[in-house]
């Protein structure tokens, strides 16, 4: 054993018994992150790869705007207007190009959601099998969802840019429309991603469930989405290098946020949806001693 002692397998002092399995969603989060931390980092790198075109486009816009300021400058009214016009144009084009890029990203995202689901349900995971199955089963709905989200994002950017450049004060207030849209739609879209991977419903059924659930858990859902995507705040920092670094770190950390959000969503689905329609899904992934026969235990 001496020559392989470096690789000696660690072992626990006592038997692992089923009552040591997590019994709450929070417990599942801690359990999964502690056991599979590096797997989630790899998932984050995969997400970074899939979303690379979107990030590159965003970085290109920042570089382009900086280039405009350097070359044209904003010293004169005419120059400032020209810079604004070109920046806004690029921003609108970027938002439009992001729609197909987001759709492309969503195909891989549907596979990743299935993998996250398996971890959230404390089920056996085979990354290759679960990723491919997730893509096969859910890519249509995630494609449609990403198209809608991309289109909404494009409209938001268009409205925001228009209100920003408008001379009419009334039009300037239109900037609140995208903000309202974001608050109304983003949490519902987040619920959609979970419903798509959990239920075998149609797109409209999932949409209905998501909005119904969001309406009953408005503030909690908004808070959950903000917490899950907290690292995205770095995207809005004007310094290019901080923003670039933040993009990479934030994207790699996405699976952790996704897991946390997924577990929160499962809790809400258990409370409002599964209790009436899918009782077999209630508490899935949590160990319940009173339901355990003990037949297959150590």
């Amino acid at each position: 054993m001496g020559k392989i002692s470096f690789f000696r397998l660690k072992k626990a002092d006592k038997d692992f018994t089923p009552d040591m399995l997590p019994t709450t969603r929070r417990g599942v989060f801690k359990d999964v992150v502690s056991l599979h931390f590096w797997t989630f980092v790899k998932l984050g790198l995969l997400i970074l790869l899939l979303s690379a075109p979107i990030h590159l486009l965003a970085c290109t816009e920042q570089i382009y705007v900086a280039y405009l300021h350097e070359t044209i400058g904003v010293q004169t009214q005419e120059a400032a207007e020209r810079v604004t016009y070109l920046s806004v144009l690029f921003s609108n084009i970027r938002a439009a190009v992001n729609i197909p890029l987001l759709m492309l990203f969503s195909v891989g995202f549907s596979g990743i959601m299935r993998v996250i689901r398996q971890y959230a349900w404390e089920e056996n995971v085979s990354f290759k099998h679960d990723f491919i199955t997730g893509v096969k089963q859910n890519f249509r709905q995630t494609l449609l969802l990403s198209f809608i989200v991309g289109l909404c994002a494009f409209l938001c950017v268009l409205i925001a840019n228009t209100s920003y450049t408008a001379e009419n004060a009334a039009v300037a207030y239109a900037v609140y429309i995208p903000m309202a849209l974001c608050i109304l739609c983003i949490p519902a879209a987040a619920y959609m991603t979970v419903c798509i991977s959990v239920y075998g419903n149609t797109f409209l059924q999932n949409l209905r469930v998501s909005f119904a659930l969001y309406s009953r858990t408005f503030f909690k859902s908004l808070f959950a989405v903000i917490c899950s995507g907290a690292l995205f705040i770095t995207f809005f920092i004007p310094n290019f290098y901080v923003c670039f670094f933040g993009r990479i770190v934030g994207t790699v950390a996405v699976p952790f946020g996704m897991l946390g959000y997924y577990l929160y969503a499962l809790q809400q689905l258990d409370k409002y949806v599964n209790v009436g329609r899918f009782p077999e899904l209630i508490g899935k992934g949590l160990y319940e001693a009173d339901k355990d026969s003990g037949e297959y235990d150590w």
Partner: protein, 254 residues
């Protein structure tokens, strides 16, 4: 069928070679279960390692199904080995550890999951499938190693004291499971153990090894009878000395 014919195995010393197995001849038929017993250092583990072709210096013939052991494709033909010093993949879950040989052979995930779940239930590992080896006790880790060996329904199963880390109750339970699974699969079994009771339970035939030589080959019933006789003879001899020749109690010295 596994056949040793005048087979000798050497191990390298600082100067020269030592003999681990000395001209042994043994045949293990298809589906037969053979236990190998003997004192420590008698060559039991070496016998298994010869079948696995992980020893260098040998003489004589060792064939598996008519093919030289060195040329026998162990992976393709299904040969499982469980040792006391089991090795599990620490970064994989219990499920992934057990499923590994099936997935590596190209089996579909659905089928793999079914087989793994089935064997995990038998070994009491069902609820531990999402755990990692470091969370399990030594006995549980050993159960995972045994389950991994048997999940692929091997044609030949080699066991080197596989239940040594388990408490007596579990040893008895797992012994039964191993025998059941091997019987169902029709596996040829060579089982190395220090426990004579275990040897008699598991095997149809017992091979007694001592100092690299086969001292005896007998059925498990004959071996059990011989053990009983040995125990009663030892008990009688011990009791006789305590009493003294004239029946008076003594210190046994005279």
């Amino acid at each position: 069928m596994i056949e040793f014919d005048d087979f000798t195995c050497y191990y390298k010393l600082k100067k020269g070679y030592g003999v681990a197995l000395d001209k042994i001849s043994l045949t293990v038929g298809d589906g037969e279960k053979v236990a190998v017993v003997g004192p420590s250092g008698s060559g039991k583990t070496t016998l298994l390692k010869c079948i696995l072709d992980s020893v260098q210096y040998t003489e004589g013939s060792l064939t598996i199904d008519g093919t030289e052991a060195r040329k026998y494709d162990k992976r393709k033909n299904g040969l499982a080995y469980v040792s006391q010093e089991y090795v599990l993949y620490p970064k994989m879950t219990v499920f992934q550890n057990i499923a590994y040989p099936l997935m590596a052979s190209g089996m579909s995930f659905g089928q793999t999951e079914e087989l793994v779940t089935d064997i995990a239930k038998r070994f009491g590992l069902f609820r531990l499938l999402t755990r990692k080896p470091k969370q399990l006790s030594g006995g549980q880790q050993q159960a995972v190693a045994i389950a991994r060996a048997l999940v692929k329904k091997p044609a030949i199963a080699l066991f080197d004291e596989p239940l040594s880390n388990l408490d007596p109750l579990r040893r008895e339970k797992f012994r039964k499971i191993i025998v059941d699974i091997c019987d169902k699969n029709g596996s040829t079994v060579i089982y190395v153990t220090h426990d004579p009771e275990e040897a008699c339970y598991v095997a149809d035939k017992i091979v007694v090894l001592e100092e690299g030589e086969i001292k005896g080959v007998m059925s498990s019933k004959e071996y059990a009878r011989a053990l009983e006789e040995y125990k009663s003879t030892s008990a009688a001899a011990y009791g006789g000395e305590e009493q003294g020749a004239d029946g008076e109690s003594g210190d046994g010295e005279d």
